[in-house]
Each structure stands twice: as structure tokens, then as C-alpha cells.
Symmetry: C2
Subunit: 319 residues, 2 copies
């Protein structure tokens, strides 16, 4: 009987899930609409039905060892997701949801922590004991691994590096405060930077011909790749703020590496070249040249599911 | 046979040491000149001679279980102090230093980490699993306790919150960079702030009659206690920057408490009232009113020795 973990990523529209072995190989994956207008039990039932059907028809013999769930506003300590944004549920206790179906432990955390655990078990951080995972998407998420374990903190919400006050009095953040790192260093942030640069009139740019509401990080990234001065300045500006905050992160945690996952990280050297430059200029002397800034080794399309499964495997192996 | 840990705090002028039981009670304490012009072995021999003499003449029977040392530029992982500031040694391996005298484990860390462990074992953080210790002295030191254990990071130097870049491009720090938190929030920092405020000419102050080179944090604190507007403004300014950086610290680590030790923390409500105000104004909504900002419960004169001993007890109990 081969042991598998179920990894589930609950998003606003769809819930992706898969069966993942302890090496991070997905042997089966699928997705269903989250449909959070309906009770969460129905989502669990749909996922379980798909998984059980596949297991029954599979030639090999499998056993489910644990379930890991990545979900917004989720709390590792109590197993709940509470008032999740983009979902209509108020409070859902994940272990109760799956208890009628599988007699296995159920673990839950947010997507950035799941990415960090995926990186630890299956990605660029294999063998590392101390590193920081940064997810650059619509916002900036992070997961902190210290002494080989995930940092949840006292209330379960540790590792919110998107909400360090990078620019006091700066851009208004979704959290209600001003100047949070994620208002600058994220897909949304770089688009805002481009809009500001366009408004300043200091640069001529191919991006000026695009409706500002239709700008995306991908469009900015493509323009920068073609040498557009304004787009390059937007990357430089982003890297300056992100590099400075990562120097702070090193003063906090002395990590072996900082690993970047997600859309903006896919810009590759467009981001990393400037980022390394600013990071090295800001970081304390005794760290210069010693901290690895790395792109994630997780596959974009698989990371949410393998990360959630990594949480399950990590818990089984360490507790 | 009662078990004791030796706690040693190696300073630039003197080395304080004591025998500390597992409840943090110092049963014997003394100090000797550090005299770092001479080899470090001589310091160890002097300390050991004093301790052994006391044990021999004591009515009770004691056994030494471990040695904890707090020292600048020390590394928990390799047991060494390396190029310590204010000391003439280059590299000293503490376990080797004491091996000829006691067959017990020897642990070493910096003074802020030792203070954090002292707080955890014997002070205001008893029973806490996640908290931050901030030492406000000449500089700003810190120790991070996560999941009940000390954070050393990959290279042993984690927890340098004095060197987060609080004010980009701000005051020149001893580390060679600009704007580090400790250039503002420390005894040195608040004195600099007073000098800047005096130079601005915006405040009339009793402090104007003091030679700027003779200003100390204690003098500023006393003036603020007597209602001096400039001194109060210096505390407000300090609390604003420190409160903002502590809000960032909470976004990182989600601690149960942040505990403040050292000279400036002794100013009590002069500091804490403004600090709580700014911290609460900067911290993320879901933490408001939930994080304790506390003064240390360690005795100023004892904390260095009990903290070093706490390191030894913590290691014996957790490893």
C-alpha cells in the first residue's frame, strides 16, 4: 500500500486538489468549483467522491495518510478558516469537514506557508533549516521556516511580511494602513508604480498607449524585457524597496536563503538582478554575499496542491 | 547535591559570574577584571578559582551542571567569541576554555539572547512560547523566542532588530549603514534626538544649559519626568519609531508579548505610554489590543548573570 497525502488548495472560484506522495509527485489531481454559496460540507463531499473514485479504479493500491489544506484566513492551531475573503463561509473547521470521510489527521494553513513547506520538502529549500519564502502575487505573502519548522507564532498569523511598513505614510493598503510592503512589491504594486511613473511624465514608454486599467504585471514585465525605460524603472523601484525589506528580514532571522515564488518572480533576472543589487547594498556587512536569493523550484501550476500536501507530510514526519 | 549552573557575563572591563539554581536564584556571585590583554585562559582560571573556593567553603553540597556565557560577538553554534568589540582577543572557544576545569557542557550566546532566555525561565515571559525581548542600552539588542526556543538562524546571528532600517537614509549607525533602529531607539539614540531638538531651537528646555557632550538618557529621562517639553518630545519621537518597528515585528512573528529590558526601559511610563499609543496605531487591526508590551521582570544588576545561566538551564532541559 503506497501512502499518499491529499493536498487541497481552496480558492475563491475553484478548489484544486491532488494525491501527492512523500517525494512531491502528484499521482492524481483535479479541481471542482468552490461554490462557497453552498455549505462547505458539499465541497468536501465533491472532493472526496473524485478522490475515492480514482483510488477505486487505480491499478495500484493506495492509502491516505493525511490531509493538508491551503486556504485564506486559515489558522493552523485551530484548524479553521475564518471569514475568508472571496468566500461566503464564516467559520469552517476543516478536520470536522473531512472526519466523516477519512480517519486521518487534517492540517490547514495559508497558501504562503504551504508554499514554504512545499519548498522545504520538494523545492529549492530541500535540506535547509532556516529560510524565508516570499510569494509575489496580487499581494505579498510569506512563510518563515526556522530550525526546520514552520513559524506560526502565538496566534497562528506569523509571517505577514507583506504588511511590514516599508514606506511610512505610503500607499494605502487593503489592510487599512499605509505603506505596507505589498502595496509596492507585488503584481498590484508594480502596476501602481507604472501608473505613477506614467503620470509623472518623466518617461516616454510603450505602456503609455495602454489603458491604465488594463495594465498587468505581465505587460510591465514584457515591456521591461524589451528595454522599455519606464518598465525597467518600475522594476528598479520595486527591487529597491523589496531589497531593503529583505535586508531587514535577514537582520531578524539570519536565513540561509530567501526564495521567491509567484507571478512577479517569474520575471526572472528582470527582478533578481536589481533585487540582488539593492539587497546587497542594504544588508549588514557580515551577511554580504552570503544569503541566497533564489527563484522557487516549485511548478507554478502544481505548487498550491503540493504545498498543501507538504504541510501534511511535514506534520506526519515531525510530530 | 544541589545542581547549579554557572552564568558568566563577559564585559569589556569586568566579567561578572554567579552560581544560579534552576529557579534563577543566585547562590553566589562575584566578578573579576576581564583583562583581555592577557590570554582568555587566565580569565577562566580566575573565575574557576573563585567559584571552587566558594563551593569548598560552603555548608551545602553543590554540583555544577552546565556553564552559560553571555559575550559580545559570540556564536551559539560554534561556541566561540570572534573579534569581540572592546576586547583584545581574536577568537576564543569557550568550551575549550572551561574543559580543563569542569566536565560539563558550555553554551554561549550574546547578551540580548541571554536576556531573552532569562526572561523565559525566570522573568516576565515565564510560560510564554513566542515573545520578543528588546534590550535598550547603548544600542538596541533583541532575542527572539519562537515555539519556546531561541532563534539563532542559519549563522547564529538572528535577532538583530537594532539593525532593521527604520529610517532609510537616516542616522549613521556603528554598523556603517544609515537609519538603523538603534540609532533612534536606545540611550544613545534619545540623546542624539535631544541634541537635534536643541539645535532646532523649537523648544526651550532645561537641557539647553547642559553641555551636549554630557547629556545622558538618564538626564533626559529625569527632565521628561519633570515635564520638560523637549525631553517629552524626545520620548514621543523615540516611541513613534520604536512603536512602528515593533508593529513590523508583530507582522513577522506574531508574538504574545514584547518585553523591554535595560536603561531606557527603566523610564517606565515615560516610554511605555507613548510606545503603546504608537504601537497600537501602527499594528495590523487583528493584533490591536492583543500584544502585551511589558517591562522586563529581571533585576538590572542580576540579569546578565541569570540570563547566561538561563541559557545553560534551557539547553539542559530542552536538549
Amino acid at each position: 500500500m503506497k501512502k499518499l497525502a491529499i493536498g487541497i488548495d481552496i480558492g475563491g472560484t475553484n478548489a484544486a486538489f491532488g494525491l501527492v506522495d512523500k517525494n512531491g509527485i502528484i499521482v492524481f489531481r483535479d479541481s471542482v468549483p468552490t461554490n462557497s454559496h453552498r455549505p462547505a460540507d458539499e465541497l468536501a463531499e465533491k472532493i472526496v467522491a473524485k478522490i475515492n473514485k480514482w483510488i477505486e479504479t487505480s491499478a495500484s493500491q493506495y492509502v491516505i495518510s493525511a490531509i493538508g489544506v491551503g486556504a485564506p484566513n486559515s489558522n493552523y492551531y485551530n484548524g479553521c478558516i475564518e471569514n475568508p475573503p472571496n468566500l461566503h463561509w464564516k467559520k469552517v473547521h476543516l478536520p470536522k469537514l473531512f472526519a466523516p470521510h477519512y480517519d486521518v489527521p487534517v492540517f490547514v494553513t495559508n497558501d504562503a506557508n504551504a508554499a514554504a513547506l512545499g519548498e522545504l520538502k520538494f523545492g529549492a529549500a530541500k535540506g535547509m533549516k532556516n529560510f524565508i519564502e516570499i510569494t509575489l502575487g496580487t499581494g505579498l505573502g510569506s512563510g518563515l521556516i526556522i530550525n526546520g519548522d514552520m513559524v506560526y507564532g502565538h496566534d497562528g498569523h506569523a509571517g505577514e511580511l507583506g504588511h511590514v511598513l516599508a514606506v511610512p505614510g505610503g500607499r494605502l493598503c487593503g489592510c487599512g494602513r499605509n505603506g505596507c510592503l505589498e502595496t509596492y512589491a507585488s503584481a498590484t504594486g508594480i502596476v501602481t508604480t507604472v501608473r505613477e511613473l506614467l503620470a509623472s511624465g518623466e518617461y516616454s514608454s510603450t505602456l503609455a498607449s495602454i489603458n491604465p486599467q488594463e495594465l498587468t504585471a505581465k505587460i510591465v514585465s514584457d515591456a521591461a524585457g524589451q528595454g522599455d525605460a519606464l518598465a525597467l524603472e518600475a522594476f528598479r523601484f520595486t527591487a529597491d524597496i523589496l531589497g531593503r525589506c529583505m535586508a531587514d528580514a535577514v537582520a531578524y532571522l539570519s536565513p540561509q536563503a530567501i526564495i521567491f515564488f509567484g507571478g512577479l518572480a517569474l520575471a526572472g533576472e528582470l527582478l533578481f538582478k536589481d533585487l540582488r543589487h539593492y539587497f546587497e547594498s542594504y544588508v549588514m556587512d557580515h551577511y554580504k554575499g552570503k544569503i541566497q536569493l533564489l527563484p522557487s523550484a516549485l511548478l507554478t501550476g502544481e505548487a498550491a496542491v503540493t504545498g498543501a500536501a507538504a504541510l501534511a507530510w511535514h506534520e506526519l514526519e515531525t510530530n
